[in-house]
């Protein structure tokens, strides 16, 4: 008995701690370690790349949209064939790298790495990731110059996708363009997407161009809207060139 008491006097504290630990461990076991996960998550937050997950989700979304667009384009082409309208974009296309910008600040141009040897002619359409980029104006055997839609001298006949309000889009030398509506009272809202119209003589119909950033309905002589281009015009690296329609 004396021996037990002596042991108790000596080790009670440690025993209690051990028991307490055991209880905690049991609780921990039953919670499947969720507290630890929480703490780990909290501590590792500075090193987490939060956009990684977002990217995966965004990619999936983009993939979904791409499939839907493909489906719609196919349908559209079939319907066009039924009523014997010509298809919009040429099927002949080639990717080209952007190897230079314009040689003068007054012009918005890029130089690309494919030319007439690759079947590119003046008037061919250049698109980038996001939509319309511009038009080929000059070609050499292995290179050509693209007049961007952000150049003030390039005007694109466009249509507001939602309401079919027509207008003419002119570049402003930077990442935006000005859409001048043909209608006095156009049905357009901030955020509406803008695409090339069927009345455009230089561009095929239905290419995405940008989104409306702001609208000034009181502008004279015609209402105006500022449009953000959907293609990253100032940071172009690659363009896809479609043969002249």
């Amino acid at each position: 008995m004396e021996a037990v008491r002596r042991w108790w006097d000596r080790y009670a504290g440690q025993l209690l701690i051990a028991l307490f630990a055991l209880i905690l461990a049991i609780a921990f076991r039953y919670s499947n370690g969720s507290l630890w996960l929480e703490i780990y998550q909290f501590l590792s937050r500075p090193w987490q790349s939060s956009h990684q997950q977002q990217l995966v989700v965004e990619e999936a979304k983009i993939r979904e949209l791409r499939y839907r667009i493909l489906e719609l384009e196919m349908q559209n082409n079939q319907l066009r064939q039924m009523i014997s309208l010509p298809s919009t974009l040429s099927t002949q296309s080639t990717w080209a790298q952007v190897i230079g910008r314009s040689a003068d600040a007054w012009w918005q141009q890029v130089i690309i790495s494919k030319g007439s040897r690759d079947g590119i002619t003046a008037g061919a359409i250049a698109t980038g990731a996001g939509g319309l980029v511009g038009r080929i104006t000059d070609t050499s055997p292995h290179s050509s110059r693209v007049l961007l839609i952000s150049d003030p001298s390039s005007s694109v006949g466009v249509v507001v996708s939602r309401s079919r309000a027509l207008g003419i889009l002119r570049g402003q030398s930077q990442g935006t363009g000005v859409l001048e509506f043909l209608d006095r009272d156009p049905d357009a809202k901030v955020g509406d997407s803008v695409a090339t119209s069927a009345f455009s003589t230089l561009y095929p119909e239905g290419l995405p161009v940008g989104r409306i950033r702001s609208i000034n309905l009181n502008h004279q002589p015609a209402p105006e809207a500022v449009v953000d281009f959907s293609a990253p015009i100032p940071a172009l690296e690659f363009v896809k060139v479609y043969a002249r329609p």
Binding site: R101, D104, A105, W106, T137, R145, L147, S153, S155, S173
Partner: protein, 198 residues
């Protein structure tokens, strides 16, 4: 392999010596033309790169007869037009020729009357001023176009002059800063020690 002082090499050097200055000018011009569409980091500010052709032209026009400078200005203006103006718009958009002729003439006059000495700062300053003049000449031509009924809707006067401020200032700044980098090799190589040797 013959030593550098051997006869055939000397003869060859003597043969190309009168043409060396010209060769350097042509080489520099080719390099300038190739540099125009580049936007290297540190070389361009806000997508505006130095106007290398203009720097070359100013460097050429210093200490030259006005007529020679003006003719060269015309040539460089045409070269610059060829690098930028789309084929289909030729004739209906501003040309670089007028501005280039003006600045080459002015540069030649400047040096003739000894308003400025030829040193590091003055070259940068001349290029700065000349760039402003050249870009203003372009802006004036755009403005004239905007008065034309055919283009009035296309080119807005207010927009042209806000652009002119941005382009002229930034372009003048980067061109001025990089001018000595082109001017000094050209002038040093034009009158090398070799020519003064007995």
């Amino acid at each position: 392999m013959p030593a550098p002082n051997s006869k055939p090499v000397k003869r060859l050097l003597n043969l190309i010596r009168p043409w060396r200055g010209l060769g350097m000018l042509v080489l520099a011009l080719c390099v300038c033309m190739l540099l125009m569409p580049l936007r290297l980091p540190g070389l361009a500010i806000g997508d505006i790169a130095p106007n290398w052709l203009l720097i070359w032209l100013v460097s050429f026009s210093l200490n030259r007869p006005v007529l020679v400078a003006v003719i060269m200005g015309m040539a460089i203006g045409l070269v610059h037009d060829a690098l930028t103006i789309p084929q289909e718009l030729t004739g209906s958009v501003p040309s670089h020729v007028w501005g280039m002729m003006l600045i080459s003439g002015l540069t030649a006059l400047l040096q003739k009357q000894r308003y400025l000495r030829e040193d590091f700062i003055s070259v940068a300053l001349i290029v700065f001023g000349m760039t402003v003049i050249a870009e203003t000449a372009i802006a004036i031509q755009w403005s004239l176009l905007s008065f034309d009924a055919n283009f009035a809707r296309k080119y807005d006067l207010g927009q042209i002059w806000t652009q002119q401020q941005r382009i002229a200032l930034v372009s003048a700044l980067v061109s001025g800063l990089w001018a000595p980098a082109l001017h000094f090799p050209l002038t040093r190589l034009r009158i090398p020690q070799l020519d003064n040797r007995p």
